[in-house]
Symmetry: C2
Subunit: 234 residues, 2 copies
């Protein structure tokens, strides 16, 4: 039987694999053939704890050597393979505004095998133009393009109001993986993977914590004054 141990890899681990991958690539590039690396060192580079690195990597299989560490090249290969990055993923961007353009020219995508291969929009003044040697086509041509060019990942970079509709069209064309940059909740059938990146949510989280430390500071300040006054009064 095709061996399928395939322990289910926890979501949290999957989310960290790209970070390990990046760290390993940096090292491999810098030092040519570093050879081997300990979980401790990888942990430092990835900004996490060593036990977590070991546990994460153990889900992929036993690729380390006790007393030595992990072979950088081999580990690189394994992570790349498990993340499905040994193949290219032809990717389409819908919505060619500022954000869409920035994404289309983002180095980080092509470096990892995500070839931005098609751009779509609906605005008349954008459709028909070119961006980075790619034509911006009308969204109505989506289906044809998906079939002909085997696009398999869709990126939504439209205004929030259009996000749900665009997602439905992507799903309708058979796309199973969607990355949503529009600040809107988008629902898709259970066999489609959707992930979101919300630029402003992260800022709002920062705001929460900053606001709170300030609030604490001012409260402490107020208490101090109160104490001082009652002391003076007593």
């Amino acid at each position: 039987m095709t061996d399928m141990p395939e322990r289910q890899i926890p979501e949290a681990t999957v989310a960290r694999l790209p970070v390990y991958l990046r760290a390993l690539l940096d090292v491999a590039e810098r030092s040519g053939d570093e050879g081997t690396m300990s979980s401790e060192e990888l942990a430092r580079l990835a900004g996490v704890n060593a036990a977590k690195v070991r546990k994460d990597l153990s889900y992929l299989g036993s690729y380390g050597t006790r007393g030595v560490g992990y072979d950088v090249k081999h580990l690189l290969y394994q992570i790349t393979r498990d993340l499905g990055l040994t193949q290219d993923w032809p990717t389409a961007i819908v919505g060619v505004g500022n954000l869409g353009k920035a994404l289309a020219s983002y180095k980080g995508f092509s470096e990892r095998g995500f070839r931005i291969q098609a751009l779509f929009d609906v605005a008349e003044d954008i459709v028909g133009t070119e961006f980075g040697s790619l034509p911006v086509r009308h969204l109505d041509e989506l289906k044809e393009a998906v079939v002909n060019e085997s696009l398999c990942i869709g990126i939504i970079a439209t205004p929030p109001a259009s996000a749900q509709e665009v997602a439905e069209r992507l799903v309708d064309c058979g796309i199973k993986s969607i990355l949503n940059f529009a600040p809107a909740v988008v629902n898709v059938p259970p066999d489609v993977q959707i992930r979101k990146v919300d630029l402003s949510i992260e800022l709002q989280i920062l705001s929460f914590y900053q606001q709170r430390t300030q609030a604490v500071a001012t409260a402490r300040e107020a208490n101090r004054r109160l104490a001082a006054r009652s002391e003076g009064g007593a």
Copy 2:
């Protein structure tokens, strides 16, 4: 005493508050004065489960009415306040490449009170230019600007190699909240909040799941053929 119940709000809850906020704003805008909304409805709009909504909101205080729901306006106010969005946060962007520009012109920031108020870079051909009525200044002028214009949030949109250094300069200027868009791990002192948005990590996670469903599909296919052949052979 200044009442500070301030139950510690779980991180996961903080991360969802902006989503609720957005949903409520949409509703309030659309229906003028909807009045009230149940946890069920808010859950649907936010794409989560109703019990979770109630528990999340209960951390802010008991702002709902049993048998009725939550008063939209009041809840909006409370969430806005707890997220620290009643005030503006003067924000600086370091790195004015494609991504930096897209962020500088991103509507979602200004809508929530994050005023992009200063742009910095180091490239000679960029420093001195203008973008969206803001001058791009040299990073060396950072400290002065932070002090004079009370900048309090820094956004890193540089290449990964410069991210750590830029972060250190931001910290050095007294900035306590940093949002990092560069694909690199950045370390800061414990009293500084840093959050990261990594555009390509999310794509890699999608790739993982897509790759896996394909792997399963091909394995199943292989098994089917094997079965068919052995059946034919028998």
